[in-house]
């Protein structure tokens, strides 16, 4: 694995990127050439699900007809507990995000872009609007971008109103259309039928940035780092019991132990990879790697020191899901309430092993039966904590900690 730089802290690659080199390269290429380059790089969606970006762009570009409006949507609704990388990217590298959106628009033939910014990040909006205005003046947005004929693209910012579920791409489209943020059935996928039935490409903030980097540095450069199934680098948001929380850039495939050393989190008892919907990795498995094929994350890394009560952690995550479930499907709406109830029983020391097993099987049912990706991943943290910390959570004497 190549060493990328002396320091992993901060947005190393994004900040080094020369302005709009990727866009200039993309402007003289055809849509197919751009998509081929992105596909070759092996870039996968950086919000956690890891869908191949090149393939998504290809599907979006295949939506028929020259006159059909297409949309590029930047998903800036990061609500996963422990994730804040998009906030830092939007704050420090907004130009790169818009550059990525413009490249995506060039690739799929879209004329309109929307940044869906979460309500909690309203304080970022003014700066983003200023950046957009500056780009319009420089002809990096608007009619005939960079003087290229038929390359028209502009971006507007729409605000969220505080709902975790709107990070799910179909729920995001529902809220853009003025509805409750309830996920749609898939298929049809947004690339075919999205925003007001138009083909809509939804990409995460970080994914769009990497797309811009790949267009300037080339797919081969991106491929150098990472593993065979997870190419390139990943921006991680590290918080919890460590001496240097913050945003880090690591090559995909870094082990949790290596990561902990860098952030000053040695001696941790467990690490939550992927936020509330991710998995809890205990110390004995710290040789696991941060990749899509092993411990996948949209960026959230939460470090738990030896003093932490894992049951308390599970309770916090489940309270989050009970509050944030959109309520549309039963497995997520009721399932999370039942899991939370069980955690509280465990805390009070009144949960039998056979009941716990029932609840675990309910969690597994939720993973299969919930309607959207967020619902399906909501029991993950609970299940991995029960699985890895059974000796800690069973037989509690009421009122006492771990």
């Amino acid at each position: 694995m190549p060493v990328m730089s002396a320091s992993h802290k901060g947005l190393v690659t994004f900040k080094q990127a020369a302005a709009d080199v990727g866009l200039k390269a993309a402007a003289v290429k055809s849509g197919t050439e751009i998509i081929d380059e992105i596909t070759k790089s092996g870039l996968k969606g950086r919000a956690g699900a890891g869908f191949p970006t090149g393939f998504k762009w290809k599907l979006a570009s295949a939506t028929k007809g020259e006159d059909i409006n297409k949309f590029v949507v930047c998903n800036a609704d990061e609500g996963e507990p422990g994730t804040f990388k998009d906030r830092v990217i939007l704050n420090e590298c907004a130009d790169l995000v818009f550059e990525g959106m413009t490249i995506a628009a060039r690739a799929i033939g879209a004329k309109d872009g929307i940044v869906f910014l979460r309500g909690e990040y309203a304080f970022l909006r003014r700066r983003l609007e200023e950046t957009l205005a500056r780009r319009r003046v420089k002809n990096l947005l608007g009619k005939s971008v960079l003087g290229v004929k038929n390359f028209d693209f502009d971006v507007e910012i729409k605000m969220g109103s505080g709902a975790y579920i709107c990070g799910e791409e179909t729920a995001l489209i529902e809220t853009l259309e003025g509805h409750r943020g309830e996920p749609r059935n898939r298929p049809p996928f947004p690339v075919d039928i999205g925003y007001f039935k138009h083909g809509t490409l939804v990409n995460n903030v970080e994914t769009l940035c990497w797309a811009a980097i790949i267009m300037s540095r080339g797919a081969a450069w991106f491929q150098q780092a990472g593993t065979s199934d997870s190419a390139g680098y990943k921006i991680l948001s590290v918080s919890g019991d460590c001496s240097a929380p913050g945003v880090y850039e690591f090559p995909m495939g870094v082990t949790i132990a290596e990561l902990l050393k860098e952030v000053g989190g040695e001696g941790a008892k467990a690490v939550q990879v992927g936020g509330a919907s991710g998995v809890c990795v205990p110390a004995r498995e710290f040789d696991r790697r941060i990749t899509f094929e092993d411990a996948a994350t949209g960026g959230s890394i939460i470090v738990f020191g030896p003093q932490r009560d894992m049951l308390h952690v599970a309770e916090n995550f489940l309270e989050f899901f009970v509050d944030e479930s959109c309520g549309q499907c039963t497995p997520c709406r009721l399932g999370n309430s039942k899991l939370l109830e069980a955690v509280r029983m465990l805390k009070d020391g009144v949960c039998s092993m056979s009941y716990l097993n029932e609840v675990v099987s309910l969690g597994e049912t939720m993973q299969l039966a919930a309607k959207c990706g967020l619902g399906q991943s909501s029991p993950n943290a609970f299940l991995s904590i029960v699985n890895n910390f059974k000796d800690e959570i069973m037989g509690r004497v009421s009122g006492a900690g771990a």
Binding site: G79, G82, D86, R87, A122, M159, G162, G181, N316
Partner: protein, 173 residues
């Protein structure tokens, strides 16, 4: 001439419809605008918006009730939202919560009698590396400690005195 509150709202919403358009996608921007100006979306406002967009009022209520940042009941001028997600929890949000309750004299979910402050929980506001964190309206405060709260609240009260009718961010970042 005496203009009633209802009439004022009516012309305000009509003007808004001119700028946002009358398609369904204008609904949430309109609601956000009403929310930020009036700290709430009244039944009357929901009815008016439904008329303007030609949809059923229940559709409007359905949307308002779905989102955390939209509400029908009156709230304070300053809505304080303390993050309760795990990273802020580990950095001591419980002590901040306790001190907020002490300083404001209300519990979470309540509004002070003078209509200034509403206290609420928030789910992860994306400040996990600088917890405990809270929002006051659109402004974000990080690394909050119980002893700093009094000054923050005082700053709100002063802003309120200066701009009694105007809602502003007290701490633009």
């Amino acid at each position: 001439m005496l203009i009633t509150e209802d009439e004022a709202l009516n012309s305000e919403l009509t003007a808004m419809a001119e700028s946002y358009g009358r398609s369904r996608s204008a609904l949430i921007p309109m609601l956000q605008n009403v929310q930020s100006k009036h700290s709430r979306i009244s039944e009357y406002a929901m009815q008016l918006i439904a008329d303007i967009l030609d949809i059923h009022p229940v559709e409007v209520y359905g949307v308002v009730s779905f989102y955390h940042f939209l509400n029908t009941d009156p709230k304070g001028r300053f809505i304080i939202r303390l993050c309760r997600s795990i990273s802020c929890e580990m950095t001591g949000k419980d002590r901040v919560a306790r001190q907020l309750i002490n300083d404001l004299g209300i519990d979470f979910g309540q509004t002070t009698a003078d209509g200034r402050f509403t206290l609420e929980w928030a789910n992860c506001i994306g400040m996990c590396d600088q917890g405990p964190a809270l929002m006051i309206n659109d402004a974000v405060y990080t690394n909050v400690t119980p002893d700093k709260l009094h000054d923050v609240l005082d700053e709100c009260r002063r802003t309120m005195g200066l701009h009694a009718m105007e809602r502003r961010d007290v701490c633009p970042l």
